[in-house]
Amino acid sequence: MIMADMVQILVLGLALGGVYALMGSGLSLVFGVMRIVNLAHPSLVMVGAYIAYWAFRLGGVDPMITLPVALVILAATGVLLYKLVFEREARSAKYSEMTVLLTFALAMVVEGALGTAFTNTQRVTSPDYATDAFFIGSVFIPKGQLYSGIVSLTIISALALFLKYSAFGNAIRATTQNRDAAELLGVNVNLVGLVSFAIGIGLAGAAGALVSFVFSFFPAKHWEWIAILMSLVVLGGMGSILGTVLAAFILSVIAAYVGFFFGATWSTLTFFVALFVVLLVRPQGLFGEKPELA
């Protein structure tokens, strides 16, 4: 029955890829437009997860219903963070270094606040579908992971359509590719930065609602996720959303096989090894720009 096992693992890997893709695409968007490596991104996913958890626990609200609420709350948080912290730093000569330190500090603050408020107990939201599965022959597809994957891909597709076909979406892409040129053509690059940041953080909130029933979580778990997300963004090519999404599926499938053959402990290691290998062999990733030598 080794064949059935192989198919089963592929399905499980793909099912997890969606949520990773959603977490990664927000990070990738923010990096692409703002050149901010937002180390706090997964800690904000965690905030989304707690919103969904408490809405379910206290009000019995389905995480799928909470999702748009978490998205809006986090997007608003993004606007505040941008205005209070990142807008000022944008003119700093040490911008890149500063944003790494700032987002690192932000991640610590968020973790500390969540830990104080909700303790370090492991939580998971448990709507009915989270523990249910579809069966196709002997292959089972966990409903929770399937739904979260579908919702993630739907949100990412909406983002892709917005970026490709709306005037403002085009301005976002243009700013990512050539900030000065976009400004010369009349794009308000500061507004583009603000909106992209809000969307990116909003996506973290949406991902949080899905994560809340796919994984068990506690405040400090975001450190594991940032390592995973960095590997997705690097493999995809810094700033490429399509690349990040593909990388999410590729790596989560590989991780699922590694987990099957070598045990669950080794599964996460896949992402870190991939990070090193990509940086050594193909630093521009799948869709990134070739690094400039000069």
């Binding site: 005037a167 243009a174 050539n178 976009a182 010369l184 794009v187």
Partner: protein
Amino acid sequence: MNDLLQVSNVVAGYGDGPAILNGASVKVESGKVHCIIGPNGAGKSTLLKAIVGMLRVREGDVTFKGESVKGLRPDQILRKGICFVPQERALFPKMTVRENLRMGGYSMRDKSELERRIDEIEERFLILKERRDQQAGTLSGGQQQTLSMARTMILKPEVVMLDEPSLGLAPKIVAEIFDIMRVMTEEGITILLVEQNALMGLKHADWGVVLDLGRTLFEGPGKEILNDPRIQELYLGGKKAA
């Protein structure tokens, strides 16, 4: 008299750094091609960036149609009718040719008018029509420059400023770039050009301006400047040695 754009004794530099321009002056007359030449580090590109508002003008003034435009942001300058094509060609490499043209009209309200103008541009520059769905980054250097210049025409600007459009292009392609410039002047667009290739630039220019060490050394009709002995001096390093 009839100066469309006038730069008077401008002092400017990058950030808080030293001044690169130390009192540069240029007069731009409507409908003509103007070429700024000068050795490396003379401040040619800096002058264009100061006009367009990418750099702060510390002293002096920039007037457009008799009105000061000093201190305006690049997007405000654009709305006044001055387009700037920087040296790096300013394209969006991963967007298609058509999307790049569309970005050229980002500041236009009327989007159906924008699409109509893009169609017009495509008819005039057929290579852009042929390659409309190709990513701009995959075009050849000459095609990229064509796209950059054609894109400015979407807004029907009064002045187009070009920073070294011939940079890194083969001589045959450079000739094509100057052809496009002629097309632009036929449309009534005034051109202010910066060229490292002084010979080529001055040959095609109605008016030449020689810049050195951030100051205007002298100016005059392109062909006269071309034959001015002082040019030899400037480019060949000092007076003719024995």
